[in-house]
């Protein structure tokens, strides 16, 4: 049994402990301890019934902890070493763990960390390594998150929108050390899609798959960002694209549109284009109009302006972004791109320099520096050729 299969069991086992009377925070700690033991002992001595082993081990650890803390409390809760066999664990146990980890009272970073532990079944050590923080810091972040949601009933489901937002954030974290956070996000979104019957869950899963399909082409061998129009489409994962498109079509057919389905539709139109030139920008703009209607934000409007630029030309796009705050992330880079297409490389180069100064990542900064350098070289070459004597 590999680690991935083991990790899949984690949220369901937490759910079982909670149904037996454990509070969520203690149950989650006990399962984490059982998980760490399993990771150490299973490679040599795998159990016949992995889930049963995890439940038994976690339950013992929970009881040990409670006896150590207060044996009276254990008695009061009516906890027994051998609990009566309750109803068969159901999908709702797992689902409730998703909702609790994405509880609206949690700051986003805490919700993501808690989700990685209780839903993905990662160890604190792995999560800490992924976020480049000390393990003790991550352990505290998770404990504080659990204290914040202490007392929240686990018997009712919450707002699916908050769960989807946490999964979306997690997917966007991309790589983190040895743990591939994007793949983890896909795995647990797939699991959520199997537990629910909501077109938006399929929409989010489709969105992730369609972006994941292009992952290899997004960075060059030297680590640099490769923009969409320069990506080698032959490297796109056609199986993932086909799965994403299929999920999206089934979701759209149910006629309950949401922001993730709209974003997935945009990603699908890019994935569908044999070349950058053949992209159906008119349809992409229409989907952005839907997105503005469903989930309006300055970032959505900026991205819409990029699509408008491709569909209707850079002047229309520049007019569209003139209404937005120039302090928006990526505003300067978008403006630079539009000025270049409008035939003003000098202005474009200056804007790329601004964009490099305000970039949020080193890769984005380097990309903008390269663009500025390229445009200045073009500008210098055209000045040289225009001053050459005709010959």
């Amino acid at each position: 049994m590999n680690d991935a299969l083991l990790r899949e069991l984690v949220p369901a086992v937490i759910g079982v402990l909670v149904r037996r009377g454990a509070d969520f925070a203690s149950a989650e700690d006990a399962v984490q301890e059982a998980l760490v033991s399993a990771l150490a002992s299973w490679p040599d001595d795998p159990p016949r019934d992995p889930k049963g082993w995890l439940i038994t081990t976690a339950w013992r650890k929970f009881l040990d902890e409670n006896r150590a803390g207060s044996s009276r409390r254990a008695r009061e809760l009516g906890l027994h070493a051998d609990p009566p066999s309750g109803p068969v664990p159901d999908a709702d146990d797992t689902l409730r763990v998703y909702f609790l980890c994405a509880h609206p009272s949690l700051p986003p970073a805490s919700a993501v960390a808690l989700t990685l532990r209780a839903v993905c079944g990662l160890t604190t050590e792995q999560i800490a390594a992924a976020y480049l923080v000390p393990e003790a810091t991550m352990a505290q972040r998770i404990s504080r998150a659990k204290r914040r949601i202490a007392g929240q009933p686990l018997d009712r489901t919450g707002d699916l929108g908050t769960v989807l937002r946490v999964l979306y954030l997690l997917f966007n974290e991309g790589y983190g050390g040895d743990v591939d956070l994007a793949s983890e996000a896909i795995r647990i979104t797939r699991q959520l899609a199997a537990l629910t019957d909501e077109p938006e869950v399929s929409g989010l899963l489709a969105l992730m798959l369609l972006h994941h399909a292009r992952r290899a082409s997004r960075t060059g061998p030297d680590g640099r960002l490769v923009p969409l129009d320069e990506q080698d489409r032959a490297t796109w994962d056609t199986a993932l694209i086909a799965e994403g498109v299929g999920l999206l079509q089934a979701a759209l057919a149910r006629d309950r549109l949401g922001q993730y389905q709209a974003q997935a539709a945009i990603a699908a139109l890019h994935a569908d284009a044999p070349s950058a030139e053949e992209t159906d920008w008119v349809q992409i703009v229409e989907w952005y109009d839907e997105l503005v209607r469903l989930a309006d934000s300055p970032v959505v409007r900026l991205n819409r302006a990029v699509a408008v630029g491709e569909a209707d030309g850079p002047r229309v796009a520049l007019a569209a972004i003139a209404e937005l705050d120039p302090g928006l992330p990526r505003y300067a880079a978008v403006a630079a791109h539009m000025h270049e297409r409008a035939g003003d490389p000098t202005r474009a180069a200056d804007l790329y320099s601004d964009a490099a100064r305000t970039a949020a990542s080193a890769a984005e900064r380097d990309h903008c520096v390269r663009q500025a350098a390229r445009l200045r070289q073009l500008g210098a070459a055209s000045r040289r050729s225009s001053s050459d004597p005709p010959g």
Partner: protein, 135 residues
């Protein structure tokens, strides 16, 4: 022993070369410079001497307490501070001499025309934990 190598956008001794900002280099020069930095870190990982490195955004500010119950005082961001740190690298090496040797190599990153930029890097030793056996 750990050392912090600090790269400054501004500050430190007077530069020995008068360089235009990187967005005014040619694309090939930019690529060569970024590639050198990446290879340098990879090589130090290979020798077991690399610990960490991060780049910093140029924007930031000075902040101080203004007393209990009051919001902190924020000064900046400044268009022209005397000193501006661009990023750091932490290395774990045998000696001060090795730290100086590596900082020298890093300072020779290629710039315009492929010429070494000879930028000043600040090298600062970490204070260590006290030894267990001290007598």
């Amino acid at each position: 022993m750990k050392y912090l190598l600090l790269k400054h956008y501004r500050g430190g001794p007077a530069p020995v070369t008068d360089l235009p900002p990187m967005d005014r280099w040619t694309p090939a020069e930019v690529d060569a410079h970024i590639g050198f930095m990446r290879d340098f870190a990879a090589r130090l990982e290979g020798t077991g001497e690399y610990v960490d490195g991060q780049a910093l955004a140029p924007d930031g500010a000075f902040v101080r307490s203004d007393g209990e119950g009051r919001a902190p005082v924020v000064d900046g961001p400044f268009a022209e501070t005397k000193d501006l740190i661009a990023g750091w690298m932490i290395i774990d090496v045998e000696s001060w001499d090795r730290a100086v040797e590596l900082a020298g190599e890093l300072s020779a990153a290629p710039g315009p025309g492929g010429e070494p930029i000879h930028e000043w890097l600040e090298v600062r030793p970490f204070l260590t934990a006290p030894p267990t056996i001290s007598e």
